[in-house]
C-alpha cells in the first residue's frame, strides 16, 4: 500500500532488527539532518523502550514498531502536551480504522485502548531549545498480529485479538503516516481548541465514574472531567476536583 502523504513516511528506513527505533532516530539526528516525517521501522526491536527505564515487548514481525522524526519548532515549550494530543489522536484514528471505532479510546495520557485493553504505547522524546520544541521523536509500538503476551503485561491486546483479522503491519503504518500527517498539520495550523475537544471526546473513561488509586494505596471514586494545559488529568470527586501528574494517580482498569 502506497503512503499517500506530503512528508510523513516519504523517507522510510526499514530495518530487520534494531535495538530500538527511538534510539536509532536519536543517533540519526545527532549525525545528520533527517527530513521531517522520516520513519524508522524495525521488524525486531529487542531493546524497545517504554517509560524511563521500562521496556516494550513485541514478538518479531507481528507488530508495528516505528519512530517518526518531526520538527515541531512552531510549538512553545509550554504547549508540548498539544503534540501528545495530536499523536495520540492519529494513532487512535489508525487503530479505529481496523476495529469497531467507538471502542477505541485514548487512555490518558497516550495509551491506545480497545475496550479495556492496551493495544499501543507511545513514547515521545523532544528536545527543547530556547523555550520551544526543537526535534521530536515519536515512538510507537502497536500490537497488530500478536495473539498472546507475557504474563507481566497487565492488559494487552492487538488488532488481531480485537477483530480476529490479520493485518500487514506495513499497511497499518501507511494509515498511521496519513493520520499523523493530518493531525500534525492541524496542530501546525493552530487548531488547538478543536483538537482539545476531540482529545476529550476520545478519552478513555471521560465523564464516567471510575476507580482511582493514589500512590499511598488510597482508593477513590471519581470521574475524569478534563486535562489541563500542561497535560495533568483533572478528576472530580464527591466534593472536590483535583489535577494529577502521571505518578500521582492510577486509573484502576477493570479488564
Amino acid at each position: 500500500m502506497p503512503i499517500n502523504t506530503l512528508f510523513v513516511g516519504k523517507v522510510l528506513l526499514a530495518f530487520e532488527e534494531l535495538p530500538s527505533t527511538n534510539a536509532y532516530a536519536q543517533e540519526l539526528l545527532a549525525t545528520s539532518k533527517p527530513i521531517e516525517g522520516t520513519v524508522i521501522t524495525a521488524v525486531q526491536q529487542p531493546a524497545g523502550r517504554g517509560q524511563h527505564g521500562s521496556s516494550w515487548e513485541s514478538e518479531a514481525g507481528k507488530n508495528l514498531t516505528c519512530s517518526f522524526i518531526l520538527h515541531p519548532g512552531f510549538l512553545p515549550a509550554a504547549q508540548h502536551f498539544a503534540l501528545n494530543k495530536a499523536v495520540s489522536l492519529a494513532v487512535r484514528d489508525t487503530v479505529a480504522h481496523f476495529c469497531n471505532d467507538h471502542v477505541v479510546k485514548i487512555k490518558w495520557p497516550n495509551d491506545i485502548y480497545i475496550g479495556d485493553a492496551k493495544t499501543c504505547g507511545i513514547l515521545i522524546q523532544n528536545t527543547l531549545q530556547r523555550g520551544a520544541l526543537g526535534t521530536s521523536i515519536v515512538g510507537i509500538g502497536l500490537n497488530v498480529n500478536q495473539a498472546s503476551f507475557s504474563d507481566w503485561i497487565p492488559n494487552p491486546t492487538s488488532l488481531l485479538m480485537a477483530n480476529g483479522l490479520e493485518n500487514d503491519p506495513m499497511v497499518v503504518l501507511a494509515h498511521l503516516c496519513q493520520n499523523l500527517e493530518a493531525r500534525y498539520l492541524k496542530l501546525k495550523a493552530g487548531k488547538q481548541t478543536e483538537m482539545d475537544q476531540t482529545y476529550l471526546q476520545q478519552l478513555y473513561r471521560f465523564q464516567e465514574i471510575s476507580i482511582f488509586q493514589r500512590p499511598n494505596g488510597e482508593i477513590l471514586a471519581g470521574k475524569i472531567i478534563g486535562v489541563d494545559p500542561i497535560g495533568k488529568l483533572m478528576v472530580q470527586f464527591d466534593e472536590w476536583t483535583e489535577s494529577f501528574d502521571l505518578k500521582e494517580i492510577k486509573l484502576v482498569v477493570s479488564g
Binding site: G53, H80, N84, N126, T127, L128, Q129, I230, D245
Partner: protein, 172 residues
Amino acid sequence: MDAKDLQELLKLISRLEFSEFSMREGDFRLTVRGKHYNQGQQVVLSGVPTQVTTAPSAVPAAAPFAAAPAPAATAPAVTPAATATAASDDSRYVAIKSPIVGTFYRSPGPDKPVFVKVGDKVSPGMVVCIVEAMKLFNEIEADITGTVVKALIEDGSPVEYDQVLYLIDPKG
C-alpha cells in the same frame, strides 16, 4: 544595630525558611537566602540599618520578620560576613531554567552517566537534562557556552516552570 539586635535577628532568621530575602536602606544592605538555596543559609550585612524596606517574593513569614528588628540605628557599621563573596559570585553565573513543569532527570536512563556534572563545559545545543511530563521526555538544551558550577536539582525530583536547574559560569 548593636550586637544584641544582630543576635535577635540571626536567631529569627534561623527559624524561618526563607528562600530569599533582601533589604536595602541607604548604606545598609541585607541579603538572606534560606534552606532552598543551595548555598545554605547566608546573611550579608553591611552599612547602617534603619528599617526593613523590601520583603519580596520570599516565603512564609515576611511580616513577622519585618516587624521584629529595625531598631533606630546609631551603631557603627557591621563588617560584611565571610559569605558575601559567595553571594556576589552567583550573580555572574547564568541560570539554565526549566521551560516546563515536570520530573527532572540528570541522565538519559537509570544506569546511564549524567548528561553534565559540575566542571563540565556546555555549549548551545548540548543536552543538560531531561524533564519528563506526562510521559513526554523533553531533553533540555543549553543555550549558552560556559562551565557548570552548580547542579541544583536531585535526579527524579519535580521541577516547576522557570526553576533554576544549573548555574553556568559563562567565563569558565
